[in-house]
Symmetry: C2
Subunit: 240 residues, 2 copies
C-alpha cells in the first residue's frame, strides 16, 4: 500500500472519476493502469479502497471495492481563527502543521492591526489537502475565507471560546489549564491576533461576545507559532 | 524599549563592543549614537541594560548600566536529537519554532535511513539566535553538530531518555503521558528519526542504552513536526 496511491476525492462515493489534478498524478507520475488498486479519501471521514477501471490520457475512472469509515482521533471540534501574517509562507506552514497535528477549521480574521488584508484561499486549500493526504487524515479541515474580526465574533458560535492576547492589564487565564478543565465535547474556538496583536477594543468586544481572555504561557510567540501552539494544546487535551 | 534594540552578545559582561554583525545592525539600521540605550542578551540567562559609548563606522562600544538576571520559565532541561530532513528548510523552521516555544539543546543524528548527511551549523545557529532575540529568550539553545546515531546513544546522558518511532511490533508508551508522570527535574532527551524512521536495529540499540520507546500519538507526523511536537509536549509539562 504505497503512500502515493492515496487520492483526495470529495464526495468520492458518488463520483466515478478522479479530479483532474489527482488523475494527472495517478496517470503520469504513478502510471496507474486499469485494474490497479488505489485509495480514496473523501475528507469527510471515509477512506475507500478502489480499482482503476479506465486509465485514459487525462481521465482516471474508478470503481469502489470497499468502504472504510474512519474513527475520529479527538473529541469535540478545534477551530482556529487567526489574523494572517504579513509573510504568507508563515501562515502556510502553520496550516500544513496544524493539519498534520489535527484540527477542524481554520478561519482568517481581518483585524485593526492586520498587515495582510487578503489571503489566497485556493493555494491554502491545496496545502491543506496535501497535508491531509500526507498525514492520512480522514477529515479535511474546513477553510473559511477572511472576514472582519467584528463579523466573526458576531457570528453565533456554540462551545468554548477563547481570545489569546498580550494585554497584561486584562485578566487572562492560562489556555492550556482552561482546556484541561473542559469536561464536555463542545467545540473549542481560539482567536489569535496579528503581529501587532488585537486592539484593546477588539479584545473587549470579544469578551462581550463570550470569548475568554487567555495567554498561551510565558513565551513570546510569533503569530503563526501561537496559532500552532493553540492547536497543539487543544489536540493534546482532546485526543482520544 | 524597542524590540530591535536587543542584541545577542555572548559573554556580554566581559566584552565592551558589539559583535560585528550586531554592530552593523545597530549603526546602519537603527542608527544608534553615543548615549543611546540598548539591551544585551548573553544567551546564558542574563540581560543587560547598556549605553552606547562609541559609535564608529563598524564598531559599537558599550558600557553596562544594569545587570538583569532572568528566571528560567521551565524546569529541567529539554534536549531534542533529530535526524535532519532532506529539505533543510523544514528543519530550519523547526529550530526557529522550538526556540520560540522553549528548549535547551538541539542535536543532529546521522541515522541508517537519513537522506541528509550534513547540516550547516553556522546557518542554523543564526536562525536560532534570531529566534532567541525575537522571542527574548534568556538562554540560547545549545546546538551540537551532527554525529552518528550510535555515537550519540553511546554518550553518557543522565535523566529521562525517549526514542519516538513507528514500529508497532515494539511496545511504545505515549510520550505525553510519560512526561506528565515525571516528578523530578532531571533532563529530558527525545530522539526523532528521519523520514524513513530509525532502523529496527537502531531502536533496539537505543533501548539497550536506556531509551524508552514512545509514540507521539495517533497522528502521522512529518519528521520536523514530530520534533516540534516533542518539544511542545515537554514544554507544556515542564513549564513553571
Amino acid at each position: 500500500m504505497k503512500e502515493s496511491r492515496y487520492f483526495y476525492v470529495p464526495d468520492a462515493a458518488h463520483q466515478t472519476e478522479l479530479p483532474m489534478e489527482e488523475a494527472l498524478h495517478a496517470l503520469r507520475v504513478l502510471r496507474l493502469q486499469s485494474g490497479d488498486e488505489l485509495f480514496l479519501m473523501d475528507g469527510e471521514g471515509t477512506f475507500y479502497r478502489a480499482e482503476v477501471t479506465i486509465a485514459a490520457t487525462k481521465h482516471c475512472m474508478y470503481e469502489i471495492k470497499e468502504t472504510l469509515p474512519q474513527e475520529k482521533s479527538w473529541r469535540g471540534r478545534i477551530h482556529l481563527a487567526i489574523a494572517p501574517t504579513k509573510m504568507i509562507d508563515r501562515i502556510e506552514w502553520m496550516a500544513e502543521k496544524a493539519t498534520e497535528i489535527g484540527f477542524d477549521e481554520l478561519s482568517f480574521l481581518n483585524c485593526k492591526f492586520s498587515e495582510r488584508k487578503a489571503i489566497r484561499v485556493v493555494r491554502l486549500n491545496k496545502i491543506i489537502v496535501a497535508a491531509v493526504k500526507q498525514s492520512r487524515k480522514p477529515w479535511k479541515p474546513r477553510l473559511t475565507p477572511m472576514i472582519s474580526f467584528k463579523e466573526f465574533i458576531a457570528q453565533p458560535r456554540v462551545g468554548h471560546k477563547f481570545i489569546a492576547h498580550c494585554y497584561p492589564e486584562l485578566l487572562r487565564k492560562d489556555l492550556f489549564t482552561e482546556l484541561q478543565e473542559l469536561t464536555d465535547d463542545a467545540p473549542v474556538t481560539i482567536l489569535i491576533g496579528p503581529e501587532g496583536d488585537f486592539s484593546l477594543e477588539e479584545v473587549k468586544m470579544a469578551e462581550e461576545k463570550g470569548y475568554q481572555s487567555v495567554t498561551l504561557g510565558k513565551s513570546r510567540l510569533r503569530t503563526e507559532t501561537a496559532g500552532l501552539m493553540a492547536v497543539s494544546m487543544a489536540q493534546l487535551v482532546l485526543r482520544k
